[in-house]
Amino acid sequence: MEQPAVNDQSRVKPKTERTMAKPHVMEEWVGRVFTTLCIVVLVVTIAAIVYFVASRGLATFITNGVSLSGLLSGLKWDPEGEIPLYGALPFIFGSFSTSLLAAVIAAPLGCCAAVFMTQIMPGLGKRVLQPVIELLAGIPSVVFGFVGLSIVVPFLRSVFPGQGIGIAAGSIVLSFMILPTITTIATDALSNLPRGLKEGSFALGATRWQTIYRLVIPTTLPALLTGVVLGMSRAFGEALAVQMVIGNAPHIPHSLFESASTLTSVITLDMGNTVMGSAHNNALWSLALILLAMTFVFVFVVRFLERRNNR
């Protein structure tokens, strides 16, 4: 037992003949230690990031004397002005609205695709739809950004008033990016459904749509929601693609087609240009901290919803 885990494993074999009980214990021990170590690494990584972001982000309030409520509710962002102003509400608004809208667009599409793949035409779905969607997941955000810039923005510009940039463009690009996440998780959930459940419903004379609508969707709702949430969190955190199409003016827009900003877009634009430790840089880390806090809140809300759905 005193020996390190790795050595133990290599010695398991010869010992088997002599004692039967010991390798079992060894094996069990190895497994437990290995998996626990992995979890520890994970937790340490997360703790390090949270600690680091918090220590940077809180400096705004401690060293630079900005008030938290001022940051959260301020409408004007002008960190390089004569009197620096740190009002992050436009970014918070932008982040929320783009990712919500993206989820609103992508969630029905993803769920339809999942239903199609599992309930309607599994053969065709597996052969055509699934590979295409997995491929979509592999398209880099940079490429999405440029596709957005060269297709989505000109399209919106020609159809709607305004310059084509803004929350609408950002949401459309994001909805494409989160579609694979939502679809994959929804498909997994639907195909893990016990066969008997569905067959029972059919046997009772329900049509396919009734079965899907009354049985399949309600049963898998928590999992579907998880997919939507994961999609939304990806939309929350996405930086480069959104930054290219949203316009980045630090204001709350009056329409979906007016230049807006998200937390990530302003971090992307300004982080590299500011020196570490300056007030502007600290403020950006505060935005990252808000992003982190918002994600926490967000996950909690969904947990709550899930629990209610399970009842």
């Binding site: 790795v6 494993q9 290995f34 960190p79 980045n248 003016a249 634009l269």
Partner: protein, 321 residues
């Protein structure tokens, strides 16, 4: 079959533990900050092919993305030169702020910046700028550019100020057709924006609602090309026939005008070192300002050689002949 799985698991385990181990080892290392640099400098030591006089080591230059293409190109040429075969130069982007932060903290040998360090390190950090030694390697000039739909081809300083502070929102008010002006600005932290505000506008521009802000020259150019009625500003090296270049106060953004000081929208490209550079870094910086580079790569990439300038400028913007 089982054996295969066993081997796979054992392998994963070993690697996993190794990874855990290396992570933990790194964690304990946090206090040992200063050694990064030495590690860098000796990295390529084994590669020293020449005699005793030959320099060897490795240089890390990081910072401004606008300066990166030039440094990148020169570094390739530098490393191909047989005299410097022992030296490895790494060029990284990340932005002027990152470059200055890194060079100040001793993590990079050279910090590339679009603007004077004094303008970035302000207030409490002002002392940090004093530790850095400035090496001006090129001059970059900027021009206001407009979408091709715009008929205006000259803008005065007052007109530009009106546009970029939101007083004028239609091209007809500055002598063009009836078309809405869309501003493509840079983010407030951008060195390019600071230069443009300081030397073209003489005042800060406003983040007007509905304006677009992009940091990368390529994206700015794309927006100006695509958006009717758009105005933005680009370094001369990015100008081509997809956008329309506007004269400033009647002066064309051309090399002879800039060199003579009649066209004011230009700035130095800086390569900062912390204190005086060591021999290896100095060799690279000297190479950077040598005629071989200044008259070839610098010009090729659309910059203006520092030595050609008939006027000089300091951090506060004062011009001397």
């Amino acid at each position: 079959m089982k054996k295969a799985l066993f081997i796979v698991v054992a392998l994963m385990l070993t690697i996993g533990l190794a990874a855990c181990g290396s992570n933990n080892g790194g964690n304990g290392n946090t206090t040992n900050n200063g050694t990064t640099n030495t590690g860098n400098a000796t990295n390529a030591g084994g590669n020293n092919a020449g005699g005793d006089a030959a320099l060897s080591g490795s240089i890390l230059a990081s910072g401004s993305t606008a300066l990166q293409p030039l440094v990148d190109q020169v570094s390739k040429k530098f490393m191909e030169d047989s005299k410097y075969s022992g030296i490895t130069v790494q060029v990284q982007g990340g932005g002027s702020g990152t470059g200055l932060t890194q060079v100040e903290a001793g993590q990079a040998n050279i910090g590339n910046s679009d603007i004077f360090a004094e303008e970035k390190f302000v207030d409490a950090d002002a002392d940090k700028a004093k530790e850095l030694v400035d090496h001006q390697v090129a001059v970059v000039a900027m021009a206001a550019v407009v979408n091709k739909s715009v008929t205006v081809d000259n803008l005065t300083k007052a007109q530009l100020v009106d546009i970029f502070t939101g007083k004028v929102t239609n091209w007809k008010e500055v002598g063009g057709e009836d078309e809405k002006i869309t501003i493509i600005n840079r983010p407030s932290s951008s060195g390019t924006r600071k230069t443009f505000e300081k030397y073209a506008l003489g005042t800060a521009s406003q983040d007007i609602a509905g304006s677009i802000q992009e940091d990368a020259s390529g994206t700015v150019k794309k927006y100006v090309t695509d958006t009717p009625g758009a105005i933005g500003y680009l370094a001369l090296s990015y100008l081509d026939d997809t956008v329309k270049t506007v004269k400033y106060e009647g002066v064309e953004p051309k090399e002879e005008n800039i060199v003579a000081g009649t066209y004011p929208i230009w700035a130095y490209e800086h390569m900062y070192t912390k204190g005086e550079p060591d021999a290896v870094t100095k060799a690279f910086l000297d190479y950077m300002v040598s005629d071989e580079v200044q008259n070839a790569d610098v010009v090729e990439l659309g910059y203006i050689p520092v030595g050609k300038m008939q006027v000089k400028r300091d951090a506060a913007g004062n011009i001397t002949k």
